[in-house]
């Protein structure tokens, strides 16, 4: 039987403080997982910390933003023939033992599984403005896809081979999470949302700050609106 190769992609920008714990937790969860940290032009010693832990790292020459970083990991996964890619944040809010729940969805035949903090109870708290933005985006996305996706900004996701190949070619750059859902959904990928537990960030700041929430919402809604009229070509040579 063919061994299913799994890779954990961790986009990281100045996360030297959080990464050791995150990596230790992943290794405790499953030692067979290949971990790759995408160092998105960090100005701290992220890359040294990761190398010291003997974890694979992709050093981007300059900061691309979360979208460009995740895509780098997906390109790596695609080139190296991984079957399943798990995207996990470097800030410690995603709990590695919850990866099981994502993988279950992939086993059920879904192309993309999104770990959601809103389906079940979790201790996740957020600012009011951000919550409103998340609700509106969820409503718009659900309307376009005809399927309810409650946690569009979750960066805790699993992708199968087909989704890896597709996303390594098409990936939005800033605030990419809600957009990828639309792009995937409209390109005929089967999406599933599963409830997962999440933690508050260990240290550092979220990529979406409160005062930027409005800009975030407008930018995402505009991008989603344009996505509806875009055509995405899928390359057929994946297996």
């Amino acid at each position: 039987m063919k061994v299913i190769r799994k890779i954990v992609i961790i986009p990281a920008f100045n996360e030297a403080k959080n990464l050791p714990d995150v990596i230790r937790e992943i290794k405790e969860y499953d030692t067979s997982l290949h971990i790759i940290v995408v160092n998105d032009g960090s100005t701290d010693n992220t890359t040294h910390v990761v190398r010291k832990l003997q974890v694979d790292v992709l050093d981007l020459p300059f900061n691309l933003g979360i979208g460009g970083a995740v895509q780098t990991g997906l390109k790596y996964a695609d080139k190296n023939g991984f079957d399943i890619a798990i995207q996990l944040d470097a800030d410690g809010q995603h709990i590695p033992s919850e990866i099981d729940k994502l993988l279950m969805g992939i086993q059920q035949g879904y192309d993309v599984v999104i770990g959601s903090r809103f389906i079940a109870d979790s201790d996740y708290r957020s600012s009011l403005m951000r919550n409103i933005g998340i609700k509106i985006i969820s409503f718009v996305n659900s309307l376009i896809l005809g399927k309810k996706i409650s946690d569009n900004t979750s960066g805790f996701r699993a992708f199968n081979r087909r989704a890896i190949s597709f996303l390594s070619r098409n990936y939005p750059i800033d605030y990419p999470e809600p957009e990828t859902i639309i792009i995937l959904g409209r390109s005929g990928f089967a999406l599933k949302e599963v409830p997962v537990k999440m933690r508050q960030r260990m240290s550092g700041e979220s990529s979406i700050r409160t005062f930027a929430s409005i800009y975030f919402m407008i930018k995402v809604l505009l991008a989603i609106f344009i996505d509806v009229f875009k055509q995405y070509k899928e390359v057929e040579n994946y297996e």
């Binding site: 981007l60 780098t72 390109k75």
Partner: protein
């Protein structure tokens, strides 16, 4: 328009066209990005040579004061140029992103290869000893 202003207009448009030509010749401006500039210079030249055209156009656009029409035309040309810049910048942004990603992946691959070569070499030395 009196003769003096027409002469100035023709000279200015000639200088603009000449500058663009010179920049391309010296390879400081790529042909693919110069088309719109040439287009703008030619439009400017046509209006400075053909006096009646501006009045006709202003009339057609319902503009009573002909120089205003000139402003509209200039703004339109500028708009086209700015739009073209944005398109070019977007393309370059995408290309530089792809390059950065490729660099990161290749760097990773190179490092692994170097480590492997180093290991085999060390093993070889150990065997020989």
């Amino acid at each position: 328009m009196n003769d003096r202003i027409q002469l100035i207009a023709i000279l200015v448009s000639l200088v603009i066209a000449g500058t663009i030509f010179q920049l391309i010749r010296k390879k400081k401006l790529l042909e693919q990005y110069s088309l719109l500039w040439f287009f703008s210079a030619i439009v400017l030249m046509i209006f400075s040579v053909w006096r009646g055209l501006l009045d006709k156009m202003a009339g057609a656009m319902g503009i009573y004061y002909a120089p205003s029409a000139l402003l509209v035309i200039i703004i339109f040309c500028g708009f086209l140029l700015f739009l073209d810049f944005s398109i070019v910048i977007s393309k370059l942004t995408n290309q530089s992103k792809d390059l950065a990603q490729e660099v990161a992946i290749l760097h990773n691959k190179l490092e692994k290869l170097e480590n492997r070569t180093l290991e085999t070499r060390e093993n070889g030395i150990n065997k020989n000893a």
